[in-house]
Symmetry: C2
Subunit: 431 residues, 2 copies
């Protein structure tokens, strides 16, 4: 009776919080004129092999369908979204801004905070690689967490051309950098120093290793003075300039020239956002500039995007005690204490629901005591009930469960009366 | 570059419509105090075998994971939701009202309107099988389509005890009814008549076959006069009585004693909702009373629920020209025609987005003509731009793209000015 290993059921309270966060984040994407797209839950396995290499197969759910098609549950959404772009949108005027939200899957040893089915929300900006566009994307990433209500986070910005130029200076041409980039991505600095010491030693190696402590743009100035490194520095400087114009809190954004990202298709700007209080699982968002056109045998197109870990963001909010909203409040619990009272109550309940109120209706004729118990159980603001006595007198009884106040309403005009009572209880009540 | 066979990509316009419909339907479930739950995209294969028998395997995506676990992409959501109920909620006070929304999967020959990945929204009411509760569930089903904006539909209500009693009268005990129920479910009336004629002929068989034309409760009265058939008739009569009290339009609900439902676990009330103008794929919703406790070796619990075909409902709305809302309107397109104009515009754009406005920001310094082209392309209400001339004078130009009106706003007070201009354009504009 348990869900499969590494997957989860989400109960009503969790789902209310998840849907509330989803809707908040979606509003931010919309405000930046990103438009939502949705791709299938599974894709041809080939798509992910072409993007990430054969090694990805060990980390994903791949399977054959009944016609022996090789399929895979998607491990991420950038490749599917770019497949959609190249198949359908590539002739449209650029830039094109797309966002997505949905479950992704990895075959991984389940551990704290890592699941086999997890949710990602993210976006792709296609056809604009100016520093101005990159700054707007970073502003968007920050706004997502502001909208979520998280305060304790920061974003690190780097540029792969700087990192690659530094490695070249040490004697490692791009073709030899892959194993180094993996060590850098995992921040295995001892292993990195050892691997580098084959070709670089002494002051030169020490100077490189110091870059791992840099957090301010100015610190980079002297290590990125020529060629592509200088261009990358200038790009980063313009991104920071635009972020300031956007009103970004400078304490929230720092430089990190040692972001390598695990994925080989990144080139240029890269960034990661952390909530440090989460420890090992602190990264909530990661992204950068990339070009996947080769996967689809298409002409190059400049892209930049990021993905936000939805589950981990919820964990961060929960740890900080931030309510994403979406508390489940029942506006009224309505019970007919005998059958004669029922028709008038049913009509009113239907109208109140059309007004957007959340009403639980008792299906049977129940005793008053049981009705009040149920109203409390479902956390209703009001209990509304009527029995034989009330029906004869043409009224219903309304009890405010927060303060115990009890009053009567005439069955003529019941809908506006209850509508007003619900609004009053919502304004005053702690529920 | 195409999605896997039988699956679809949803572009921005489709997604806007889908999310708008999703949210409308969700609001209705919430008004009835149903609470959303979410289960994994795949389950242990055993769950669906236990519920539907070994034959289901031919119709679903089943696969082994890397530890040889037998898994299956869920073909429906009632079994997973009931698994969740028995594992987690069974001790909570009843009734319990749950709803869900998500993709389901079937391995099926793709055909018009039938996909291998499709979306279902549905609900389960656990622990209440009174006619009053059943009526409220039917009222909820009807409200979903009212909220969606569909008008041309009707719901058919039946009760399996009546159908089974009629078959017993013809000489077929329950143990022999399965093949007959399948013929009835598919409305293969010639085949049914032939199968029945082994034991029943003449006037008796004719009388049974006439039941297929019944649409009113009164027509059933004489064929359901004793035993469980009579109880079922009385149950249906009370459901109809409650529907009337709920203000249900009588033309929207009819009796159909020949609903068999394909699924053997149904018992008691059954119902289906059709949009007749859709032809063969007309059924938009189906449901009924059931008890899945046996699948989980648990004590019996009365359940009733339904599932709504989300994709097909969208097709119905589209055929009828009903907009589910969610049109993508860009409130303003904002361009700095030179770099000096940019900082003031960036600050304003950020504030306007926080106010909920949807703003597309041009990343580069562009010519006026190109800016106006882009504003038209993205269907913006307003184009907002400033160049050297405007910057010197401390203003920006605002052009209403619906009527061509052009005016200037001071950069001091730009946010309230643009906020007001956007609101005015939204009120008057056709976009």
């Amino acid at each position: 009776m348990q869900p499969p290993r590494g997957t989860r059921d989400f109960g009503p309270d969790e789902m209310a919080a998840r849907r509330a966060l989803e809707e908040r984040l979606r509003s931010v994407f919309r405000a930046y004129n990103y438009r939502e797209v949705q791709t299938p839950t599974f894709e041809d396995l080939e798509l992910f092999l072409a993007k990430s290499g054969p090694g990805i197969r060990e980390e994903i759910y791949d399977f054959k369908d009944k016609s022996d098609r090789e399929l895979a549950l998607r491990p991420e959404l950038t490749a599917p979204v770019m497949r959609y772009y190249f198949s359908t949108l590539k002739m449209q005027p650029k830039p094109i801004r797309l966002f997505y939200f949905g479950p992704c899957f990895r075959y991984d040893r389940p551990q704290a905070g890592r699941y086999r089915e997890f949710w990602q929300m993210g976006c792709e900006l296609i056809g604009d690689d100016t520093p101005e566009a990159h700054a707007e994307l970073v502003r968007l990433a920050l706004d997502l967490f502001e909208a979520a209500g998280l305060e304790d986070y920061h974003l690190r910005l780097g540029h792969l051309s700087i990192l690659r130029a530094l490695l070249e200076d040490l004697g490692f041409p791009v073709a030899e950098q892959a194993p180094l980039m993996r060590l850098i991505d995992k921040k295995e600095l001892d292993g990195l120093r050892k691997a580098l010491s084959v070709k670089a030693q002494g002051a030169k190696l020490d100077a490189f290793m110091r870059v791992f402590d840099y957090t301010r743009l100015e610190e980079l100035h002297d290590v990125a003075r020529t060629g592509r490194a200088k261009e990358a520095y200038d790009h980063l400087a313009r991104v920071f300039g635009n972020l300031a114009a956007f009103g970004v809190d400078a304490s929230k954004v720092r430089v990190d020239p040692t972001i390598a990202r695990g994925l080989e298709y990144y080139a240029g700007l890269v960034f990661e956002l952390d909530a440090p209080f989460l420890g090992a699982e602190k990264q909530l968002l990661g992204g950068g500039a990339y070009d996947l056109s080769g996967v689809f045998q298409q002409p190059p197109v400049a892209c930049v995007g990021f993905a936000l870990g939805f589950d981990r963001t919820l964990v961060a909010l929960e740890k900080k005690g931030v309510k994403a909203g979406g508390e489940d409040v029942v506006d009224a619990y309505v019970a007919a204490l005998d059958a004669d009272a029922r028709p008038a109550l049913l009509r009113a309940v239907h109208e109140l629901r059309r007004l957007g109120h959340r009403i639980e209706l008792e299906s049977g004729a129940v005793a008053l005591k049981k009705a009040l118990q149920r109203a409390t159980t479902v956390r209703a603001r009001l209990a509304v009930f009527a029995g034989a006595k009330e029906t004869q007198r043409g009224v219903v009884t309304v009890k405010n469960l927060a303060n115990g106040d009890q009053s009567e309403l005439a069955t003529t005009g019941l809908v506006p009366g209850l509508d007003a009572a619900i609004r009053a209880a919502a304004r005053s009540g702690p529920r």
